[in-house]
Symmetry: C2
Subunit: 246 residues, 2 copies
DNA sequence: AAAGGCAGTATGTCCTATCAATCGAACATA
DNA sequence: TATGTTCGATTGATAGGACATACTGCCTTT
């Protein structure tokens, strides 16, 4: 059952070969060339078809398995997951998500200060006593409708931040431009009801449901760069993710 | 800077070598032998110290990077993430999580039926018209306090389920015993306020905040085995996870 | 006809080997 | 002094081979 997924591999491209394969198979799945439930050729044949080594092919398939598009079973084979899977939850910012989605998010900076970190912030960002941080609250709107209320604390020894930047682009964009390479974030998602401060800002009724998210992000040098408490209107936002068995 | 993380690798063990390394480094981090922020020896030296090949060592470190315990930087090295990271969100059930946590969860089966799947369920489980499913609602308590209200639909062509089983153990345990190997799940987390049906069952005030979760789980043959809508008391439950940059 | 064993097939693990890309610091130069 | 520049160190990518293990279906045996 040779399913010709005529991918073209460009060896002069700076994109790693395994990643080209990932993209090729992803698009084959999305275009329907590889329908849900269909079986792929075995790793060795696929590698031979594309003139790749088996480890390279396996690395590509590993990624696809981890991202939830494929399932593998020893002795049997590899097949496309039957249902439409969603993108796994990746390390990205709300601003990026909305922008990639074609929306045009806007940001109101509600407060901005450069202050000495309190104990909780020092704990979250692993800062010594007396260290200063940027502290600000923002209201994110999309299509004129408020979506999220965000409060953040950012260490100040990486790049400087001002109010104008925060209005124009997302926090993660600013920090990336400042040379920060994010590697991971730990976050906690919960729920609460809108209080009298949040409700009018989000143009919601007091007592309506909000999704809460607390996040601390770490860069490639191991520093805790940023921590924040965000709330989202529950009727406009939820977290989608794909979990993969290890 | 040779940090002797005197791991012992047992080549006769059925546990893969790379996984032994993962466990060894994990425990070294948790016991403080590898303090946060410390740098590991380079991959080649580590591999030599443990008499492993570099790819095997790399595979182990890949897992640790993906799980958020290590950060790597080309040309520089690998170091332990400074903060205490939480376990990444894995494919597990609430029952397992609570049991592993030392709690003793109990389950009240509120309703149980074996019915023809409605359209939404057929869509979620990719079932043909006329297929039957198990449908049930459960109330999960821990320490006598209600925590979660769960409604599930399970395809009936894998293993049979009855009310007694559901009272005694978690759904995932039943299905695993029935030969199901879960591979992935896609889920969506949001928020709502407790309605008049949910509130008394959860012993919460109507209008209090609930965390909502919808999940569909897929097994190693690509079948959508189970889908469910769960709500949790927001004051007792939240989702913690670690996101890793790809 | 049912049960058990066997072989084929596919993924899982592990190895040696080599080159590329990138970072940081030491060094040389204007 | 300030600014490039080179180079060692380290991770990233790719190749190809060997053997292990698990699943499926077929065939044999009872």
């Amino acid at each position: 059952m040779a399913n010709q997924l005529n991918l073209s591999i460009d060896r002069s491209s700076p994109v790693p070969l395994y990643h080209q394969v990932v993209q090729g198979i992803e698009s084959a799945i999305h275009t329907g060339l590889l329908p849900p439930g269909s079986r792929l050729d075995n790793e060795i044949d696929l590698a031979a078809q594309l003139n790749l080594s088996r480890p390279t092919m396996r690395k590509a398939m590993d990624e696809l398995v981890r991202s939830g598009l494929l399932v593998r079973k020893r002795g049997v084979g590899t097949q496309v997951v039957s249902s439409q899977v969603r993108r796994p939850l990746e390390l990205s910012s709300l601003f990026d998500d909305l922008s990639n989605n074609g929306s045009k998010p806007t940001t109101d900076v509600l407060s901005f200060s450069h202050i000495e970190a309190d104990e909780a912030t020092r704990e979250a960002l692993q800062l010594p006593a007396g260290a200063k941080v940027y502290h600000f609250t923002r209201l994110r709107k999309v299509g004129g409708k408020p979506l999220a209320l965000m409060e953040n604390w950012v260490r100040d020894d990486i790049t400087s931040i001002d109010e104008a930047q925060l209005s124009a682009q997302g926090l993660y964009g600013i920090l990336r431009n400042g040379g920060v390479n994010f590697r991971l974030a730990s976050q906690r998602i919960g729920a609460m009801v809108a209080n009298d401060y949040q409700a009018p800002l989000l143009e919601a009724e007091p007592g309506s449901a909000l999704v809460t998210m607390e996040r601390t992000a770490v860069d490639d040098t191991g520093r805790n760069v940023e921590t924040g408490h965000h709330v989202y209107r529950a009727d406009s936002y939820s977290f989608e993710m794909t979990l993969v068995q290890r």
